[in-house]
């Protein structure tokens, strides 16, 4: 005899994209609910909560790596347990932080990579990746608790470049700050086509929230 209570909780993402022209200011500004978490993030969240190491995450190359180090691995020691995503990329870093691409291939939860990454640089077909900063603290805005991740992409070439997909990458942390060398993709969004002209800046913001 007894009672059973079943509660469902979740996390989701919003995405905001802006294009800033050096002369005209903000010429595009759009915020949408994102539809982007892939299996890797689900594995991460599961591992963090159940404490059971798993080797189910996939690097962006889908490479086979030792089970003990693949994905997010539980660690028990004097300082506790944790796993991490390490997704704060510096300028020019295409392995961590927000990344952009040119493919419109539909989203699928089993995806482990961008479909056509736009590389970092100032040349043809490239965008200059600034650092990926976050807000200082999570912000409460009833009913959501959110924190924001942002990155600027500048077109320093003479021709426009088209962005159709956005994602977040990082390096999985499997034990006490040991960062696994593989790059993992945590989410991917296919967005309406955006053209970033010469000298224009694309600003991408992901807003992680607790209520769907």
């Amino acid at each position: 005899m007894g009672d059973t209570m079943r509660l469902t909780v979740g996390v989701g993402l919003n995405i905001r994209t802006r294009i800033i022209d050096t002369e005209d200011g903000v010429i595009f500004d759009k915020t949408d609910k994102a539809h982007s978490f892939v299996n890797n993030f689900a594995y991460f969240l599961k591992h963090c909560l159940d404490g059971i190491g798993n080797s189910d995450g996939r690097s962006i190359t889908n490479a086979a790596v030792p089970v003990a180090h693949q994905g997010w691995y539980s660690y028990s020691g004097c300082c506790g347990n944790y796993a991490g995503m390490d997704a704060l990329g510096g300028a020019g870093d295409v392995t961590r932080g927000i990344v952009v691409g040119s493919s419109a291939t539909p989203f699928a939860i089993a995806q482990y990579n961008m479909q056509a990454l736009i590389g970092h640089g100032n040349g043809s077909g490239q965008l200059y990746y600034a650092a990926t900063p976050t807000t200082v603290v999570p912000v409460f805005s009833d009913p959501n608790i959110t924190f924001l991740v942002s990155r600027d992409f500048t077109n320093n070439y003479s021709t426009p470049i088209v962005v159709r997909e956005i994602g977040i990458r990082g390096n999985p942390v499997y034990a006490q700050g040991n960062v696994y060398t593989a790059t993992m993709q945590y989410c991917r969004d296919v967005v309406p086509e955006m053209t970033v002209g010469p000298a224009q800046v694309l600003n991408v913001q992901y807003i992680l929230r607790t209520v769907m």
């Binding site: 209570m5 591992h47 963090c48 404490g51 390490d86």
Partner: protein, 162 residues
Amino acid sequence: MVNVVEQESDSFLQNFLLLLKAAFTGIAVSIPDTANVSRSCLGFSALAASYGITNSNIVIGTGNTAVTPTDYKLQNQITAMEHVPLLVVQPTVPALNGSYIECMICSRSFNNRSGAEIDVNEIGICVIASTYSILILRDVVAMVPVLNNQTIQVAYKFRTAV
């Protein structure tokens, strides 16, 4: 007779986002533990599932004060019940269910052997981060009276939007 209550919950606390932020950035954050002492924590921690553990895993209480995002403990945690180490975790592989990925379902049972009825009004989840107990979820629910020798089972389902 078993009464089953199901509901969607919006109970993640600021602590959860702080832990998620730390995991995301790889930079430690200061988080209040269940004693409201600020602790430096990095990343997530696991749910301990040992018998009698009351500072992690699913926890229950009698408090009915409304949830606020900065809650750091249950209002009045119940320790008089047997905290069963049952932690059912499924699925083993995240699965797409409509517009969500079901990440995990975990549950825990609490046996009332106190000799008297205990009314459950709040539930939550504590994790261990850097050895400290951190409350990441709190829900105030319609009162569930648990009679002596009865068991209450609480299950949380985690999902992400796609």
